[in-house]
Amino acid sequence: MKALIVDDSRAMRMILARTLKELGFDAVEALHGGDALEQIAVCGPFDLALVDWNMPEMDGLEFVRHVRGTHCADSMRIVMVTTESEAERVAAALAAGADEYVMKPFTKDALSSKLEIIGLALP
């Protein structure tokens, strides 16, 4: 399965890439929402996107709204992975069309359990 990592932090992209690899995904990285849309156009479709909230150019929430609004990747499951943890923020992400929400810091087990919830667990 193919995953898209959208995060402006190089360190976080590396952590997520390693975790996704261990979970059996092939991952492509994007630096922000705009970059992610280009990756979808060039390398898509993706099964999963892990999306940070605060990023330059196009932030995570804007990216989710764009993807769900334009239907450019309807089958792609979106999980927000972010330090934003206020209930209102979490609710806003789900309302925009994110499928799940992981609050940093997180563990591999936690991410894996969230992927299982949205039906992306690998055998």
Binding site: L94, V102, D109, L111
Partner: protein
């Protein structure tokens, strides 16, 4: 079953040296809970025997397993997922039929740990069975550790804990932010009573139960204790009542009084009616 002070100190030092984990005094229960299964799987007679082997020899696989057991947090929401599907598709619908007259549901969770399991059960009931609103629900959740019972009662969980298996829509519905943590809303918390209870000691009166959860705790006990616990459950479970065990646990070879029922991807045990 309790760990000697010197053995606890040895484990603390080992964890600090090998995994930089600082284990405070008072965490003996945690060492016991995590290391007893390791002791059994390595053929040790108990924790004392396990620490003796660590001290004299300290073979690498044993040290690794000890460190892993102490660093892996096994508790999660909706742990293993499938038992909660079976609860919703088979166990509760069956119980609703049987108890339609008195409209009373009686459940016991015998290894509540830090509370994720009983609260998960309550979320399943609230989400899938709105008709239970008019029922009396007696839900007792017990754990051997008073510290765990206090945590259950507080119903407060860190973000790390909330990430593990909690579907986000349910997080928003049944929890509220409390500083950096999340707290179970009162409407859910008041539906369960937490109490300490040692499964290996004489049991208090539990009445007649419809559903028992005893997941991932039998692995800590030897065969005679497992048999005694299963016999105890049969005495408090009504005929046809349901028992959930952990995925690595079974009544097979221990107690013939239970029928093994496969429901979806889960296995549930049923108190035989005869």
């Amino acid at each position: 079953m309790s760990i000697q002070t010197a053995d606890f100190d040895y484990v603390r030092t080992l964890l600090r040296e090998r995994a930089a984990i600082v284990l405070e005094p008072g965490k003996e229960y945690l060492v016991e809970a995590r290391l007893l299964p390791v002791a059994r799987s390595f053929g040790c007679e108990g924790l004392g025997d396990l620490v003796r082997r660590l001290r004299f020899g300290g073979e690498a696989p044993l040290v690794t397993r000890v460190v892993e057991a102490m660093t892996t947090n096994e508790t999660s929401w909706f742990r293993d997922l499938h038992p909660f599907d079976a609860l919703a598709t088979r166990v509760i619908p069956d119980t609703l039929r049987v108890r339609a007259g008195e409209r009373r549901l009686r459940m016991w969770c015998g290894a509540a740990s830090s509370g994720q399991e009983p609260y998960t059960v309550l979320m399943v009931l609230a989400e899938k069975f709105p008709e239970l609103a008019g029922w009396t629900i007696d839900f007792l959740a017990t754990d051997i550790s008073s510290e765990m019972v206090a945590k259950c009662n507080a119903g407060r969980y860190s973000q790390l804990e909330m990430n593990r298996g909690m579907p986000t829509p349910l997080l928003l519905k049944y929890f509220e932010r409390d500083g950096l943590d999340w707290k179970v809303r009162d409407e859910l918390r008041k539906r369960v009573t937490f109490r300490t209870m040692n499964l290996a000691a004489p049991w208090p009166s539990l009445g007649t139960l419809d559903v028992v959860f005893l997941r991932n705790v039998m692995i800590y006990f030897d065969v005679p204790t497992k048999r005694s616990i299963l016999a105890g459950i049969r005495r408090v479970l009504r005929p046809g009542g349901w028992l959930f065990l952990g995925s690595a646990e079974s009544t097979l070879g221990l107690d013939d009084g239970f029928e093994r029922v496969t429901e979806g991807k889960a296995v549930v045990y049923r108190n035989r009616k005869d």
